[in-house]
Amino acid sequence: MSVFETSAGIALTETHSVTATAADGFASLGWLMIALPLLGAAVLLIGGKATNSWGPMFATIMSWAAFAVGLGVIFQMTGLAAEERSLSVQLWEWVSAGDLSVNVGLLLDPLSMVFVMLITFVGSLIHVYSLGYMEHDPDKRRFFAYLNLFIAAMLILVLADSYLVLFVGWEGVGLASYLLIGFWNWNPAYATAANKAFVVNRIGDLGLITAMAILFATVGALDYATVNESASSMSQGALLAVGLLLLLGACGKSAQFPLQSWLGDAMAGPTPVSALIHAATMVTAGVYLIARSQAIYIETPDARVVVAVVGAITLVYGAIVGCAKDDIKKALAASTMSQIGYMMLAVGLGPIGYTFAIFHLVTHGFFKAGMFLGAGSVMHGMKNRVDMRRFGGLSRVMKVTWITFMMGWLAILGVPPFAGFYSKDKIIETAFVGEGWQPWVFGFTALIGAGITAFYMSRLFFMTFQGKARWEDDQHPHESPKSMTVPMIILAVGSVSLGFILGPTGILENWLEPVFGHPEHHEPVLAIPLIIALTLTLVALGALLAYFMYWKSEVATEAPEGTAITKAARRDLLQDDFNEVFLRKPGEGMVTMLVATDRDLIEGGMVGKTTGSLAGLSDLLRRTQNGFVRSYAMTMLAGIVVILGAVWVMQ
C-alpha cells in the first residue's frame, strides 16, 4: 500500500479535507533538508581530528543550507493553492512485514514547514552563536557534530509522514539531547543529568510505542493519512488509549507533568544546547505530536481534557519553580516548562487552540532561545557563574546582552506589542472558551500563570541586569564577541516583531488553515477586553512586585531560608523526592525482592534442591563403587539372576 494511493487527508471537520500530492519541482528535494545536516554530522564524526579546523564552520554551513532548502520549499508552496500545500516525498519502502508496510516518506505541509523554519533558522543562529561560545573548548568539533545530528533528527521528526518515521526522529533527538547534556561528561553530575534525561524520556517513549502498537492493531497502518482517515471508525476505548499514550510520549519529550523532572538537570549541557534543544525545538516536539494527531484527539474529548489538565498543571508548576531558582539557567528551564504547559493547554482545548499553540511555540522559540543565549552571554562574561544572587548591575557592562534580553523578557511577559502578547494572550482567551467548569478552571489557571510568569521573569531580569553589582571580587564582566551578539540581536528582533507580523495579520492562521481547518469562532465566557485587561494587570502586578523585591531592595548574596513553599520550589516542588520515595524506593524494593526470590526460591530452592538431591543420590550410589571385586561379582550375579528371573516370569 502506498501513500500515493491513499487519499490522505487530515480530515478535521467534515467539510474539510486535504490530500497530500506527490511533490514535484524543488519540493521533491525536500529530503536534502535532513541529508545535509546528517552529512555534516557524519563528516565531523568520521573525519575526526582532520576536521578540527574547518568542521565547526562546515556544520554551520550545513545547517544554513538546510534552512535555505526549507525556504525554497516554502516559496514553492506559497505558489500553490491552499488546499494543495500538502506535499509528499516518498523515499523508499522501509518496513514490509506481513500486514504492516511503512514507507519512508516526508510530508511537507504547512504545519511541518513552520517547524522546519523554526528549527533550521533558530538552529543555524545557535550554530553561529556556538562558534563564539565554544571557541576555546577542545572538543568543539564533536559539539558541532552533535548539533548537526540534532538538527537532522529533529527534521526527521517533523517531516515524517508516519508515526514510525516520526519515532526515528523522536529517538534521534533524544540521543542528541543525551549526548549534548552530557557533553562535559567528565563532570559526574552532568553525566548523571544526561542519564536522567534519557531514562525519563524512555518512559515517554514507551507510551509512544504502545500507542503505535494499538494504532497498528486497530487501523493496520502507521502513516498519518490512513490513521487520520480511520480515526473516526476506531472504538472509543482505543481512541482514548491512543490519546493518553501519545500524551505520555509528549509528556516525556516536552517535560510535562509528571515527567518534567529531567529538564532542570538538563541545563548541565552547554548553554547553546539549552537554548536550541531544551527551549526552542526538541521540548516542543510533544506539542507537535499532539497537534499532528489532532484527528485522534478530535474523536476523544476525554483525552483532550487530560491534555489540557496536564498543560494547566505544568504551567503553574513551572511558574512556581521558576520563582525560587537562583540558577539563571534553571529558572529559564522552569519557565520553558511553564510556557510549554501553555501550549499543551492550547492543544488540549481542541481545534480552536491548535493555531495559537503553534503560534506561541514559534514566538517562544525565538524569545526563549534569545534569553538562553543572553544567559549564555552573561555566563561567558562572568566565568561560567550561574548564581543570579552574584550578578546584578550587568546592564552597564553588557549593553547588547541587556537590550536583547530585555526584548525577550518583555515578550514573555506579554507586554504589547511584543510577541508574547499576541501568542500567549490568545491562549488565555481561548482557555476561557467552553462550557461548564472547564473555561473557568483553565482560564484562571492560565491567567494566574501569566501573573506568576511576570514575577519570576522580572525577578530573573532584575537580579541579573539591574540593581547593585554583587559580583565576586575576581569578576570582570565584558560583552561577548560578535558571533554571539549578532544571533542574540536577530532573535531579539524576532521577539519584538513576530507577534504583530504573524498574529493580527492572520498570516500564520491562514498558513495553517489547510492543516487545522477554520474553527468556528467561540465567545469566551468573559469579554475579551476584560481578559486582556486582567492579564495585563496581573502581569504589571507581578513585574512591580519583582521590581520592589529585587531591584529597589537589596538582594542577599546568600539565599535566605525561605518558607516551606520556597524550599520545596527550590527542590523542584519535591519532584525528585517524590520520585525517590514513590518510584525509586519501591522500584528498588521490588528489585531487591526479585533478587531475593531468585536467589532463595529459584536458585536456592528449586535449582539448588534439585542439584542437592541429585548430589545426595549420587553420593549414595558412589558408595557401591567400593573397589572390592567380590561385591562387583555379587552385583553381576544378582543382575543375571534378576534378568533370568524376569525372562522366566515372562515365559
Binding site: 558412589r622 563403587q625 567400593n626 573397589g627 572390592f628 567380590r630 561379582a633 555379587m634 550375579l637
Partner: protein, 99 residues
C-alpha cells in the same frame, strides 16, 4: 539315573563355585571358584547335548575349555604381577578401583 541328575549336579557345582568367588579372599581360591563355575557350565552343556541329541552343547563345552585355558594363563599372570607389586594375594587389598 536320569540325565536331570547331571543338571542338578551342575547347578550345585555352579553354586559352590559362585559362593567361593563371592566369599573367599585369596585370589587363587577365587580363581578356582571361577574354574568350578566354568566346569559346572560345561557339565550342563554336555548334559543338554545328550538330552537333545545334538552336538551343539559339546562343541560349546570345547569352546569354553579353550577359552578357560586362555583365561587361566592371563588370570595367573595378573595374579602374579599383583602379588609382585603388592605382596599380597587377597582380592580385598586390591581395591584401588573406587572413588
Amino acid at each position: 539315573m536320569t540325565l536331570v541328575a547331571y543338571i542338578y549336579l551342575a547347578t550345585i557345582l555352579f553354586t559352590i563355585g559362585a559362593l567361593v568367588v563371592l566369599t573367599r579372599r585369596n585370589t587363587i581360591v577365587v580363581f578356582m571358584g571361577v574354574e568350578l563355575m566354568l566346569n559346572a557350565t560345561n557339565l550342563a552343556l554336555v548334559t543338554f547335548s545328550r538330552m537333545h541329541g545334538t552336538l551343539d552343547g559339546q562343541v560349546y563345552a570345547l569352546f569354553v575349555m579353550v577359552v578357560a585355558a586362555a583365561e587361566v594363563v592371563v588370570g595367573l599372570a595378573i595374579i602374579m604381577s599383583i602379588f609382585r607389586a603388592r605382596r599380597t594375594a587377597s582380592v580385598d587389598d586390591s581395591n584401588l578401583l573406587k572413588l
